[in-house]
C-alpha cells in the first residue's frame, strides 16, 4: 500500500441515509487516501451504490460528516462533488446517446475559446487521452448510440479523468466487459493509483479486487462490516464479511458452502 499522506483525501464519518421506510446506510465510515485503491464490496442491496451516490452528491447523506483533506465539507449536489475533485463512473454509465464521444467526454466542463465551444482543442485532447489509455474507438465524432457496450464503458471511464480529479469512483467497471477490456480497465486503475489518485472500486468480482485493490471495505445491510488490507486477507475472509458469516454452527455451514461453491 502506497500511503502518500496520513490525512485521507476523502473520509466519511458516521454517514446515514434513509429512503422512506428503508434505512439504506447506517453510521458508515470510509477513508480513501491519495494513491490508494479502496475496493467497496458487499452483497446486492448492501448500500454500495447509495454510498457512492452520497459521495457524488446525487443523494446527499442525512447524517454524518464528509471530510475532504481533513476539513469538513458539504456535498449536496453533483456540482459540489465535482468541484472538490471527485469523478464518478456509474454502473448505468450516464452518457448522452445523442452527443458524440467528444461531447460526452467534456459534458458539463466544455472548453471555451473566446466564449465559444472550442471543438478543435476538445477533439484533439480527447484523441490524445483515448490513445494514452490505449482505448480504441471508431471515431470521436460518432454519437454514443453507435458504440458497443464495452466502448461506452471505456468512454465513461475516460470521461472521469478529464477534470483532473483526486478521487475516482468506479461502479462495477468490469461487469459488462470482455476479457481484454477487463484487463485494460484494471491496468487503467493501476495507472490512476500511480498518478496519486484515490480510487474507490465497487466490484462483485473478487479476482479484480485482489488484483488491484489495496484495501477492501465491506458493507453489509447498510453498515460497515470490516476494512481489510488486501495483502494480508484471504479470499474467504472477505466473502465471510460480505455474507455476514460469524463463528457459529449455522454460519460455519454457510461459509463452508460458499467456499465449496467458490472452488
Amino acid at each position: 500500500m502506497i500511503h502518500v499522506s496520513a490525512t485521507p483525501v476523502l473520509a466519511l464519518r458516521g454517514a446515514s441515509k434513509r429512503f422512506g421506510a428503508v434505512q439504506a446506510l447506517t453510521d458508515v465510515n470510509l477513508e480513501v487516501h491519495a494513491g490508494e485503491v479502496v475496493a467497496l464490496v458487499g452483497d446486492n442491496g448492501a448500500g454500495k451504490s447509495t454510498l457512492v451516490k452520497a459521495i457524488a452528491g446525487v443523494h446527499p447523506i442525512d447524517e454524518g460528516v464528509v471530510e475532504w483533506e481533513g476539513r469538513p465539507v458539504s456535498i449536496s449536489k453533483p456540482h459540489d462533488s465535482q468541484e472538490l475533485g471527485v469523478a464518478t463512473v456509474y454502473q448505468d454509465l450516464a452518457l448522452c446517446d445523442n452527443l458524440d464521444v467528444v461531447g460526452n467526454l467534456y459534458l458539463g466542463r466544455e472548453l471555451r475559446r473566446r466564449g465559444v465551444l472550442d471543438e478543435v482543442t476538445m477533439e484533439q485532447k480527447a484523441r490524445e487521452l483515448l490513445s494514452t489509455l490505449s482505448i480504441r474507438i471508431p471515431s470521436v465524432r460518432i454519437p454514443i448510440a453507435g458504440l458497443s457496450g464495452g466502448q461506452r464503458q471505456v468512454v465513461a471511464i475516460a470521461r472521469a479523468l478529464i477534470g483532473d480529479p483526486k478521487i475516482v469512483i468506479l461502479d462495477e467497471p468490469t461487469a459488462a466487459l470482455g476479457v481484454e477490456q477487463t484487463a485494460q480497465v484494471l491496468d487503467l486503475v493501476e495507472r490512476l493509483r500511480e498518478r496519486g489518485l484515490g480510487v474507490i472500486l465497487i466490484s462483485h468480482n473478487m479476482a479484480d479486487v485482489k488484483a488491484v485493490a489495496d484495501t477492501v471495505a465491506v458493507l453489509r445491510l447498510g453498515k460497515n462490516n470490516g476494512t481489510f488490507p488486501v495483502k494480508d486477507t484471504s479470499h474467504e475472509e472477505i466473502i465471510a464479511a460480505i455474507t455476514g458469516a460469524t463463528d457459529n454452527a449455522v454460519t460455519r455451514r454457510a461459509e463452508r458452502r460458499t467456499t465449496e461453491a467458490a472452488k
Binding site: 450516464a94 445523442n98 458539463g108
Partner: protein
Amino acid sequence: MSDTTKTPAAKDAAPAAAEDPTAAAAAAPAVDPRLLVREEGFKGYITEFKRKVKGGELGSIPVVIGLIVIATVFQLNNDRFLSADNLSNIGYYMAATGMLAIGLVFVLLLGEIDLSVGSVSGLAAAVFAVVVTKNGMNAWLALLLTIVTGVAIGALHGWFFAKIGVPAFVVTLAGFLGWNGLMLWLLGSSGTINIPSDEGPVRLLGKASFLLDQDIIGAYLLAGLAVLSLLAGSFMDQRRRRAAGVPFRPTSEIVLRVVALAIVAFAAAMVFNSSAGVPNALVIFLICLVVVDFVLRRTSFGRKVFAVGGGVEAARRAGINVEMVRITVFAIAGGFAAVGGMFFAGQTSSATMLAGGGNTLMLAIAAAVIGGTSLFGGRGTVWSALLGMLVIQSISTGLSLLNMEASIQYMITGAVLLGAVVIDSVSRRSQKAAGRA
C-alpha cells in the same frame, strides 16, 4: 454534432506526422478498421448518402422532396404559384409563424412541447397595442416590454414544469387558454386595436418594408454575405483542424457546400429582386436563425440543451443545472412567441382577437417537426424552422391561390403534420436498428 468530418485518419495524419509526431500518434489508434469511413471523391459521397438513408438519417431529404411535390402540384393548377410575387409573399408571411417555430425547436430539443406559443403571441400583440395606443408609450420601448412579457410568461411555464413537476403539456395547455383569455380582456369589447403603422417596429415588420428600401443591392448583399461567411468560416475551421491534427473537411467538400449555398442564395435574391426586394421581416427571421444556430451548436448553453434532451440523468450527473436549462428554454420559447406576435401585428397593423389563434400553434409545431426536429428530444437544428415554414407557407399560400376553403386547408395541414411525425417516428426506429439513436 455533425459527423461529416470522418475522413480517413491516415490521410489526416500524414501531413501532421512531419511536424507533430504526438498528434499523429494520437490519431493513429483512434480509427477502428471496422468503421465505415467515407471514400474519397464523389463516389464516397454517394455511398455515404445511401448508408445514411438506410440508417434512417433522412436529414432534409423529406422536406426537399415535399417542397418539389408541392411546387409541382400547385404550379400545374395555378401558374401564378411560382411567380416572383407569390414566392416573395411566401417569404414574408412565413417569418411570423417561423419565429414561433424557432422557440419551439428549443422546447422540442428537450423532448417537451409548448402549446401556449400561439396564445402568447396574440397576447404580446395586444400588450403592445394597448401600451402604445392607450398609454402612449414609445414604440421601441413597448417592443421591449412586449418581449419581456413573453419571456416572463415562458419562464413561468418553465418554473411550473421544472420546479413543481407539472407536465409541460398541461402547464402550456393551461397557458394556451389562460393567455388567450387575458388577450381578449385586454382588447376589450371591440376585439381589435389598430396600431399606427407609420413608425416603430410595426412599420419595420409591415408588408411594405424592405431591406435598404428596395434597393436591388440589398438582396445580393445578403446572399453574398451568407456565401462569404460560410466560405471563410469553413476554411478557418479547416486550417485550425489541420494544425491540431484532427480530421477536417476536404477542400472539395467545402467548395461543394459553398457552391450549393451560393446557387440557392443568389436564386432567392433574384426572385426577391424581381418582385420588390427582401422584406425586412424575413431578414430579421434569417438573422434570428443564424444567431440561434450559433447558440445551439457553439455555446455551452446549446450543448446543455442537447444533453438534457438526450438524457436527463446523464446531464444532471454531469453537473448541469437541469431545472435552470428547462426554465431558460421555456423562457426563450415565450420570448420568440412574443416576437412572432409582433410580426403578426406588423402584417395587419393591428392587434386582433384572431391573432395567434386558430391553427397558428399547430402550424408552428408542424414546421419544426417537418423541418426535421424530433419530437422525442435531442435531435434537430433550428434550420428546421426555416425548411418547415417553407413547406407550411407554400401549402397555405397555394391553397388560397386555388381559393380553397378553410375546411380543406385545415384537413391538408393536419395530414401534413401527421405525415411529418410519422416520418420522424419511423426514422427514429430505423436509427435505433442502425445503432444511431
